[in-house]
Symmetry: none
Subunit: 121 residues, 4 copies
């Protein structure tokens, strides 16, 4: 069973956090095509949140074709999810690029930033 971590202080709405967590598990290969995801009610109750919130997340994921619902059977990871990993990678790279812009505004050069990253990790 996947562990969805929620941060109630975050500016990100809960449903988006759920989406990101599921996408993360898919991208990491922890959730694979045809794997069943928890039912809306189940996940809602285990997270202590409103089922509508989970529904909103699942709707979004279904729309992005990351999950697919088979009525009376349950909800499953979709088959064609090759794109998920690259999407995720691109998004993360894009986030770094944005932060690097900030750092450049603060007077750091690209090589300075990269040297710093090498040291830290």
């Amino acid at each position: 069973m996947v562990m969805i971590n929620l941060n109630y202080q975050s500016r990100l709405p809960i449903y988006e956090q759920i989406v990101l967590e599921i996408e993360r598990y898919v991208a990491l290969g922890i959730l694979k095509p045809k794997d069943q995801v928890p039912s809306i009610r189940e996940l809602a109750s285990s997270l202590g949140i409103n089922p509508n919130t989970v529904k909103k997340a699942y709707d979004y994921l279904e729309n992005k074709k990351i999950i697919t619902t088979i009525s009376t059977k349950g909800t499953f990871i979709a088959d064609n999810i090759e794109g998920v990993i690259t999407d995720k990678k691109n998004k993360l790279i894009e986030e770094i690029v944005e932060i690097m812009k900030e750092l450049k505004k603060l007077g750091m050069s690209e090589t300075e930033i990269i040297n710093n990253l090498r040291k830290r990790s």
Copy 2:
């Protein structure tokens, strides 16, 4: 005179954008200790926003001890702000490091990531 750029489409509230802009100018050394920052009304009118919004930003900055206000005189950059620059840089670098961890979990190596960043920026 400092130029505050606002993005009304951003998820970040206006007052936080002001905070970040002021912090940026402090970090860059453009605003130095004892420098006067624009008065609440002045900044509000020049940005075309409500004075209360600017006040909220200034309250926040005062709480963080980045500015200090002398009632009826104005608002000024605080004295001990040595940490602000490096603090800010460190925080941003740390954010990147966290994202890089994610990327590594997704199967990217450090050099792969860095090559990607070089291309993008």
Copy 3:
């Protein structure tokens, strides 16, 4: 339900009076970690004041980590508030000590001061 007493003649702004009252209830153990405090609108209407004023008080308390707010759920007493009680008492005692120093400079002895206090209260 906590009773917030306001004094509109006081030099202390309303929002600070709310802060002090909440802190007092926390210090007294009447409000305990995870207890829900009245919603902004509810407290505002029961006090006959503007919700923004209550919000300002709550913002302040959140910043001091005495309360924590979960958007759309409500506002709650924070978890780690062991220090609040003793902090508050110590601050007040310290204030008295400072005033006693003044009184001693004015020629009163400690026992003289204490006898005076006993009479007055």
Copy 4:
């Protein structure tokens, strides 16, 4: 020359702080009857504040008959200031009584408070 300490962050207006400082020096016997106090302009410039502010403080002190102005000569401490010390003492005692009320609200008994004060001072 007396040293007037001002706190620009305080909620107390500057002119009240000046009043309190002068009263303090009188009560302590550092300023005695017939002693000359600095001229308005002199004090204003040495404190880096507006002469009107000093004027307001002096007006108040004159009204309370703590100082007296002899035109073309200057401003002096008044003759009958016996009351100043006791006034000051009473005010300070009253302040302590107020703080003790707060402490009692927090659950401390009078003897508890007094024992604490004995230890601390």
